[in-house]
């Protein structure tokens, strides 16, 4: 029976793509046979736990700033004492366990024992790639159907928002593998149009929010919450410029909380935060927040904003699921009227079903 392979090669720890892979992968698992795999360096099947552990955040950036008050499971790491590292590791484990419980498939992967013996996709199988994969051309030649889950089509379309190495890989991948891709899946009509112009057969699906776990935590009441990647594509540089202007012209500004994974080309943004001591204490960085932290922040923030022009639009779904409006960039698909009718209760099972239906067509 043809199988679905979920390829998480290149999906960084704690990234939005990792959360998407975990959510979508487990939802797909309830509907069909799925094997998680990764190129290390050849494509290898992985145990399912890899999805949960990949969602764990990497170490925090060292900003040489006194840590803020602890915020829930992913407690910020203060000075790297042995005890602190132990405590941090414990909370990481707790986060992974909590997440694993939450997203555990309702039925275990039926074909797990079979796929463990199968080294990789074979003719008739479908390979779902979240990131450009160097083996894809080889699999296409073997009759494997390639589907690209374009979690970050915006960056794909803007090489100057990637590191030079990633940009080179993307260019090579576009030249060699893109013509072999059967279907590209994006989460924004704008990206779908752009990818169609590049020759991909692309569909745009509505994503869903990452489900928070059940614990409510201390938060930043009345803050301006900026959700999304800390990066050039995430527009953090522009956001800090705007914030500095507000600091000059406005009294009693609320705190700005930057909550998101640290992405590409963020060195100078982090340097600015460091140089200015987080803009006179008016900015707080929560790098690689857990869904629980985001949910908690959304519950009490004054306003949520998502300036990013890249990614799969997670911020808007998280905000809608928490019952909060979110100011997004014009690029973001939330500006599209038809998306406003999508219920905020949409979950990943809907997304998985839509995806399988698209395959069938």
């Amino acid at each position: 029976m043809p199988r679905l392979w979920l390829d998480i090669t290149g999906v960084g720890p704690g990234s939005d793509a990792a959360w998407l892979a975990a959510s979508l992968g487990h939802a797909l698992c309830d509907l069909t046979d799925v094997t998680v795999c990764e190129r290390t360096p050849s494509l290898q099947p992985h145990p399912w736990d890899i999805l949960a552990s990949r969602c764990a955040p990497p170490p925090e950036p060292d900003l040489h700033i006194a840590p803020p008050a602890p915020l829930g499971l992913a407690q910020r790491l203060p000075a790297p004492t042995r005890a602190a590292i132990r405590r941090f590791a414990a909370t990481q484990r707790a986060a992974i366990q909590a997440w694993s419980r939450l997203i555990r498939p309702t039925k275990p992967p039926a074909s797990r024992s079979e796929t463990d013996d199968q080294p990789g996709p074979v003719a008739g199988d479908t390979l779902l790639m979240l990131h450009p994969n160097g083996d894809a051309a080889r699999f296409a030649a073997q009759g494997v159907r390639l589907v690209w889950i374009a979690t970050d089509a915006g960056s794909f379309l803007r090489p100057d928002w990637q590191s030079p190495r990633d940009a080179t890989d993307t260019a090579i991948w576009q030249d060699t593998t893109a013509p072999l891709v059967t279907l590209a899946v994006t989460w924004s009509p704008e990206d779908a149009i752009a990818l169609n112009h590049l020759g991909f057969t692309t569909i745009a699906l509505d994503a869903a929010a990452i489900p928070p776990d059940l614990a409510m935590m201390d938060s930043e009441p009345d803050c301006i919450l900026a959700l999304g990647e800390i990066s050039e594509a995430g527009q953090t540089r522009h956001l800090l410029l705007a914030w500095r202007n507000l600091l000059d012209t406005t009294e009693n500004l609320p705190k700005l909380v930057l909550a998101g994974p640290i992405g590409a080309l963020a060195d100078d943004v982090l340097a600015q935060l460091r140089n200015s001591r987080m803009f006179d204490g008016t900015v707080r960085l929560i790098a690689h927040p857990t869904p629980a932290e985001i949910h908690s922040l959304l519950a009490t923030c004054r306003r949520a904003i998502a300036p990013s022009t890249a990614g799969w639009g997670r911020a808007r779904w998280d905000a809608l699921a928490a019952g909060r409006s979110c100011v997004t960039s014009l690029h973001d698909a939330i500006a599209s009227p038809q998306l406003r009718s999508v219920p905020a209760t949409r979950d990943w099972k809907n997304v998985a079903a839509d995806l399988l239906e698209a395959f069938a067509q």
């Binding site: 050039e232 540089r237 100078d268």
Partner: protein, 408 residues
């Protein structure tokens, strides 16, 4: 009464660098203009030991500055070298003019209580300056005047390394305590100083403005070099750093290329070396192959090459986010070239009606402005003609007169 100008910074800079920066050029041009004024008496001093200042003849300063501007390599002495190399260095030291050597057992300058000492240099890089000047002021009773270019490290600490920002603050706050007259090169810088004084609880004071002269007398002949760039191009002459907003220009050119294609868009030349907080931008340029060759980096262009670039470009852009003045705008006008300049901080003070001002954060406005310019070659030519007809460079003599009036 004598107006003394501290040129220690000029000599310190010459010992470490081969080319003058903007501040050294200002010291020289202003010094030269002041020597041409009839009153008061002008003298130049540099600190010769920890506590004393020695007088420097003006011809020595001219010789020093000429050697810098001519790209000559000043001989240096490195005491840790082997004996043979030390001897060679010693011979080289003997070969250079006496004025360029470190002063030794020099007689102290004849400073009088009714004299004024004008500080024009980058004193924040000299950790002992404030204490030295405080002692000098106490011993002689002279007045100290400080010309302030900008206080960006205090206003925008995020763009400065924390140690440099701390050093600058220590220097500037120290200078505020011993300075009898503050002058600023722009209304924006005067405004920033007033804000900072309020933060410190200091009383409001009048800060006279001293508009810098346009152009430099030691600019090299403009026909010596060729820029070597094919086709039309726009130009920005500036260190590449976050504050100068090159990333915005990259976004702007990216948008123009996406809309109109490479054939319709001129190349963009970044003439300047990478400076602070430019790492991400350089990565972006590398990742996009300099926007597929549409951006040209010239990190080490000589003065002659810069002049050739100014002469050869269609127009210049300077969309900096924060400045104390805006030298590239003035330079552009001196070369008769239209400039699209930033509306931020002091930049609009430089060019008046002869430059086009846009918000350096508004990408849509910038796209609109550039598209209008590129679609109207006749308009661009008319703009250039208006500059050639109407632009009147501020002479350094005028700057000197304003300075003297501000000190009075």
């Amino acid at each position: 009464m004598t107006l003394w100008i501290d040129v220690s910074d000029l000599f310190g800079h010459a010992g470490a660098f081969r080319r003058p920066s903007g501040i050294q050029r200002v010291i020289f041009e202003l010094g030269r203009a002041l020597t041409e004024t009839s009153t008061p008496k002008i003298g130049f001093i540099r600190h010769s030991s920890r506590l004393t200042y020695a007088e420097v003849p003006w011809p020595d300063i001219v010789a020093l500055f000429s050697s810098l501007s001519d790209d000559a390599t000043p001989p240096t002495v490195t005491p840790t070298r082997p004996l043979r190399l030390q001897l060679e260095a010693f011979r080289a030291l003997l070969a250079i003019p006496a004025s360029l050597r470190p002063p030794r057992r020099t007689a102290a300058a004849p400073l009088q209580p009714d004299d004024t000492l004008l500080i024009l240099g980058a004193g924040w890089s000299d950790s002992g300056q404030v204490a030295r000047l405080a002692r000098l002021r106490q011993q002689t009773g002279l007045r100290i005047a400080l010309l302030v270019y900008d206080i960006i490290p205090l206003m925008r600490p995020e763009w400065t390394d924390p140690s440099n920002a701390a050093r600058f603050q220590s220097w500037f706050d120290g200078m505020l305590g011993i300075t009898d007259r503050l002058l600023a090169i722009s209304a924006w810088t005067a405004r920033d100083i007033a804000i900072h004084r309020r933060r410190l609880g200091l009383p409001e004071i009048h800060i006279p403005l001293v508009r810098l002269g346009d152009g430099f007398s030691h600019a090299p002949p403009q026909t010596e070099a060729h820029h070597g760039i094919d086709g039309a191009f726009a130009l920005i002459v500036s260190t590449i750093e976050l504050r100068k907003n090159h990333a915005f220009l990259l976004d702007l050119w990216q948008a123009l290329l996406a809309r109109h294609g490479p054939a319709a868009i001129p190349k963009l030349v970044f003439a300047g070396r990478p400076g602070p907080l430019s790492h991400d931008l350089m990565q972006r340029l590398e990742a996009s192959a300099n926007l597929r060759g549409h951006i040209i980096l010239l990190p080490s262009a000589s003065d002659a090459e810069i002049a050739a670039l100014y002469q050869g470009c269609s127009f210049t852009v300077f969309l900096s986010l924060y400045e104390g003045w805006g030298l590239p705008v003035a330079e552009s006008l001196c070369f008769g070239k239209p400039c699209i300049a930033s509306s931020a901080t002091s930049v609009p003070e430089v060019g008046g009606d002869l430059v086009q001002i846009i918000d350096p954060r508004d990408l849509d406005a910038a796209i609109f402005c550039l598209e209008a310019l590129l679609n109207d070659p006749a308009g661009l030519a008319a703009w250039q003609n208006a500059i050639l007809r109407d632009f009147r460079p501020t002479p350094w003599l005028h700057t000197a007169d304003t300075l003297l009036a501000g000190l009075a």
